[in-house]
């Protein structure tokens, strides 16, 4: 084989260039970025816990919201009883956002990271005004 050295060197240069974005973000620490949503909880007597356990909310809040939406709109069921016995009104704007009143620091943090389009919620449901 002619020019073995040059070919191998060329292949190596190509590999380094092709994978350079990964090395670059590794080196600058961008790849390690994880969203860190800020959880605010306003004073709600007896209801300083979420409607469901944190693990469930982390993995399945979208399913819960879908269930709430369907049962409120289609069946007129507006009450939700949490596993620890508290009663809540099934409402995104009036229950969820009452505690998590910081959409930009809470919802958007992860949704932007994961490229989740939640515009479908906020084009109608009114987000709380944030006190900056």
């Amino acid at each position: 084989m002619y020019d073995t050295g040059k070919i191998i060197l060329g292949i190596l240069i190509f590999l380094v260039l092709a994978t350079s974005p990964f090395w670059y973000s590794k080196a600058t620490g961008q790849a390690d970025y994880l969203p860190d949503p800020v959880i605010l909880t306003k004073d709600m007597p007896g209801k300083d816990v979420c409607v469901m356990p944190t693990d469930y909310m982390r993995s399945s809040h979208m399913d819960l919201l879908n269930d709430w939406r369907n049962s409120v709109v289609r069946d007129g069921e507006r009450k939700f009883v949490s596993p620890n016995g508290h009663e809540y009104k099934k409402s995104l704007s009036n229950t969820c956002m009452n505690c998590h009143s910081n959409k930009a620091e809470f919802c958007d943090k992860c949704h932007n990271y994961m490229a989740v389009d939640d515009q479908t919620c906020w084009s109608c449901h009114v987000e709380p005004k944030e006190e900056l």
Partner: protein, 254 residues
């Protein structure tokens, strides 16, 4: 041998007879749907509008104002794109079948408060291709904005003009946003929902509550003791375009 032909046929025949008998005898009493029979136990919400009281306060638009405020109904300022839940219509337009030139002046000239009639036979529900509008058990014609695709069949189907289409994003046209109730987005149809969100909290519809003349009465029309049944029994009432067979549930006292 375990079983011979005669025994097998006997068992098979008896089994068939038992199954048939069960289906025929068991079905009729259990199959009755209380809603279909129009039983009084089923709630049916309706409204009576006293036009005599209403016209005492000429120019009053309190019902429209409060309804449009709490439901985030935009004021586009353009008649072609207007969005309305409850509003005043002149008598001839509201009651084309009842109108004639020689009608009493105070009836002919007094506008009627009109809104969704929450019909018993709703044409809008029939034509909706996505099931985003439907009739609840208590008679309210509800809308699910999440499913509305904006085809506007219901707008064409409604003979009362009760439905409005959002030709543009309504948000910039809402003066004072009520954060407790969602707005709509561009491309969906909307209308009066009989304040379904207030009824669950035990409140009356906002228009009924606010009316300074107490001209609106709301209640269960299937209950013979209810206030609206008593009113309808004692006064002459008319409805909008009853000839169309939609069985509208807004009654007007003239």
């Amino acid at each position: 041998m375990g079983i011979d032909r005669r025994k097998f046929l006997t068992i098979a025949g008896l089994t068939t007879l038992t199954t048939l008998g069960k289906t025929v005898l068991g079905s009729s009493p259990a199959g009755h749907d209380p809603i279909e029979t129009g039983s009084q136990a089923v709630k049916r919400l309706a409204m009576v509008i006293d036009m005599v009281k209403c016209r005492q306060n000429e120019g009053c638009t309190e019902c429209t104002k409060i309804c449009h405020k709490i439901h985030n109904v935009p004021d586009i300022g353009n008649a072609k794109e207007e969005i309305k839940w409850i509003w005043k219509e002149n008598f001839e337009a509201a009651f084309p079948n009842q109108h004639h030139d020689l009608l009493e002046d105070n009836i002919k000239n007094s506008p009627a408060v009109v809104l969704c009639n929450h019909c018993d036979v709703p044409p809008c529900v029939k034509v909706c291709p996505t099931g985003s509008t439907w009739q609840r058990e208590d008679g309210i014609i509800m809308m699910d904005m999440h499913r509305c695709i904006g085809c506007r069949y219901c707008v064409a189907g409604c003979p009362y003009g009760s439905r409005s289409f959002n030709f543009r994003d309504p948000r910039p046209h809402i003066d004072e946003m009520n954060p407790e109730y969602p707005t709509r987005s561009k491309g969906v149809v909307e209308k009066c929902n009989f304040c379904a969100e207030r009824l669950v909290d035990g409140l009356l519809p906002a228009c009924v509550d606010i009316c300074p003349e107490k001209a609106l009465t709301f209640g269960n029309i299937n209950d013979p003791e209810s206030e609206i049944r008593q009113i309808l029994k004692s006064r002459h009432s008319i409805r909008r375009k009853p000839i169309l067979g939609t069985n509208p549930q807004i009654y007007y006292l003239v």
